[in-house]
Amino acid sequence: MTLDSVINTEPGKGFVMCNEAMVRGAIEADVKVVSFYPGAPTSEILDTFNSAQKYFDYKFSVATNEKVALETVAGASMGGFRALTAMKSVGLNVASDAFFSLGYTGIKGGLVLVVADDPHCHSSQSEEDGRLFGPNAYIPMLEPSNPAESREMVKAAFEISEKYGTIVLIRTTTRVNHQSGIITTGPIERKPFEKSQWAEVGKPYFTVGEIARQNKLNLLKKVKAMGEDFESSTFNIVTPGEGDVGIVASGVSYCYAVDACKKLGIKPHILKLGTTYPLPRKKIIEFLKPLKIVTAVEELSPYLEHNLKTIAKDTGLELTVFGKDSGHFSEAEEYNVPIVYKGIASALELKTTKDYESVLERAAGLKSILPERIPVFCAGCPHRATFWALKQAIRGRKIVFNNDIGCYSMAFFPPLNFSDSMLAMGASLGVSAGMSQVLKDDIICMVGDSTFFHAALPGLVNAVYHDRNITLFVLDNEVTAMTGQQTHPGTPQDRGMPQGKKKIIIEDVCKGIGVENITILDSYDVKNNVKPIKEALDHKGPSVVISRRSCALHGDRIKRRNKIPIVPNEVDKNACKKPHTCIRDFHCPAITFDTDDRASHIKSDICDGCGVCAKICPFGVIHPVGSESKTEEVEK
């Protein structure tokens, strides 16, 4: 996309990603406050609002975590303004405490929460089904299938939100968020931002005991009314077909179902549901009445399927519902056209002409020669250096290493294969506290700087309070690296990025909490870091090791902006004794070896000149391009 499609005040056409289309929809709806914590596949919503903020008067902030982000936009809504946040499904787990209460208290200004599930766990810990948040909290939910709907549904969500005084969910999946297409935009007409007065907009937002019980009754009434309203929603679309067979689908599964039916040469009646909570019950009954068979096509849990069964039974319809319970579809994995093709064909006992399995089989044979290309630490990544020193320091020790969520999670995978657990944001501290009570080993936990602020603080307070014998590594690379180098409270203030007003210093926070043993390392100073890490591990009670260096992608960007040259390193080919220390223990994407003589070789276009490989080279034959190596000096 180009940002122009999001900010152009005139209506027009643009090629945008669903994430960007939702931003466009919100700007058209005159959203005034947005706040986020980044998380794939929703990070581009944050990034786009960030890039577009100079053109509009909405208040943008990166919050310390999803719960704070939701509470921030809830506060703005209570103050009478339209507000939006977006998060991945596991983010809503963090925010869910406030989320459920908000359902009970209601809101004032239109309030929209985009929640993205991640079937296939592309970048998440679980294939959680966020749709269950809707009925569990009695919060209405819309599900777009493509960029055009994404824009329209966000706009509509603000209207629904204000009409019923409720927060509204927009539920997506990775294949929706990261789908691009052409949208037709509407005009942007925004009222100038002007603060309100509580006396004019305020009302009580309170829910416990008798008040909560009353809130619940009101909530049930609201849901009933919304269900009635959704009966005529244009987001629920019936495409009439032939015979007495039907399909019910929503989100991206609808797209797969439509394409799969074409390939099967069938024309079932199709109900596309856009309002998946509350469901348009009458509309569904109307759709089901003439049918004998209906197949529910949906990823993850059988949410629609079970609702269809309930509705059919309550209405006395003689209807067979196919889906996951019948074994034609799985509750696991991400769908695609071939999976849905096969599922529908097996449910309806149709002959198939497409043999997708044999295509996959042939491909698997052909690509057996390919080495895996799994994500590794980038060239210049400070984490690679920290892990090198840590692995040296733990030689001869019995340890448990509890990892956390961030780029450093990748230590679990080859080549490092180094991690004993990883549960959730900040969880490594709690897990370590538990282990320290039952295991003899040295207990190590690790968080990034952003995760430190997000969810590690309560765990650290707990560890200090109970004097747990654990060592916490905080990898401080200045940004929330994994999701695209967004800012966080510890990001230095001179990086030329829009951000908060005060840098929070991690070691000061640790001191304030009462950590007595704090070690600060320069991640790149690999050899000198081994001893202090050992000392931190030897310390009885909680200790913190802060390993500090800017994320390589972020740091290089700043260097380029400030016109600071990035000088790559090179190997003195004649002096290289080929121990391959720089390759085997390091796995830097910039380092390979020449096939003619097996001497190590650094790719100058990828190397970012961090120089860590030069420090671990036992013969000192790596040096910046243009300088002279030690061996040459010796020869001279």
Binding site: S180, V337, Y341, V359, P371, M482, T592
Partner: protein, 216 residues
């Protein structure tokens, strides 16, 4: 938009090569020409050096962001191994435009180092496997062409140009140029257009005997 001929393509490469920019140029080319277009993209993590792919569907009636197995008209690979990694998507006798420069993954390098071997997967190894599926393969030395255009970072413009040579591509050569112009910085436009033209010519020369190509 009346019924349009469809063209499904898998864009692939290694994180950091600019696959998203490639997709944006194509998407904008279609948007300008009123051609239906949709993509399915995967960019969850922001690390460099991992595998990246985007399914891009032009024209036609399909509404799924992912191309079914064995149905892509073309694969465009900025790194050759990645063309083979997604070969299940290509239809028989589909078109492959691929970079000549192999980027061996760090894991392969480490493995070979440990076993004291030097038998890296080569460009020739990859092409041999691809030929089982299609004879229509156009190798491009994108870095050399980008350098010739005066900017080594215009490799993706080389590929946009290369794709433009295909007669079945719904956007015209001119549309493709407009798409490119929409996404590149103004100061690098001239070099990008040069790279585009070099890519076009190389693909035309490599493919015109095999598949239908069109004049610039």
């Amino acid at each position: 938009m009346s019924e349009q001929k469809s063209f499904d393509i898998v864009l692939t490469g290694v994180g950091g090569q600019g696959i998203v920019m490639l997709s944006n140029a194509l998407g904008n080319a279609c948007a300008n020409a009123d051609i239906r277009v949709l993509t399915g993209e995967l960019h969850g993590l922001s690390q460099r050096s991992g595998t990246v792919y985007i399914h891009l569907r032009m024209g036609g009636e399909s509404i799924s962001p992912l191309i079914p197995y064995g149905e892509a008209d073309a694969i465009l690979a900025m790194e050759p191994m990645e063309s083979l990694r997604y070969i299940e998507f290509l239809k028989d006798e589909g078109i492959i435009i691929l970079n000549k420069r192999v980027i061996n993954p760090p894991l392969e390098i480490a493995e070979l180092s440990k076993e004291k071997r030097t038998d890296f997967v080569t460009f020739e190894n990859i092409v041999e496997k691809l030929k089982v599926v299609t004879p229509n393969i156009a190798p491009i030395d994108a870095l050399a062409l980008a350098m010739e255009a005066g900017n080594p970072r215009t490799e993706n413009a080389v590929f946009i140009g290369a794709m433009s040579a295909l007669a079945n591509l719904p956007p015209s050569v001119e549309d493709m140029k407009i798409g490119l112009e929409t996404v590149v910085p103004k100061k690098a436009l001239e070099q990008n257009i040069k790279a585009f033209e070099l890519g076009y010519k190389t693909a035309y020369d490599g493919l015109c005997d095999l598949v239908q190509c069109r004049e610039l």
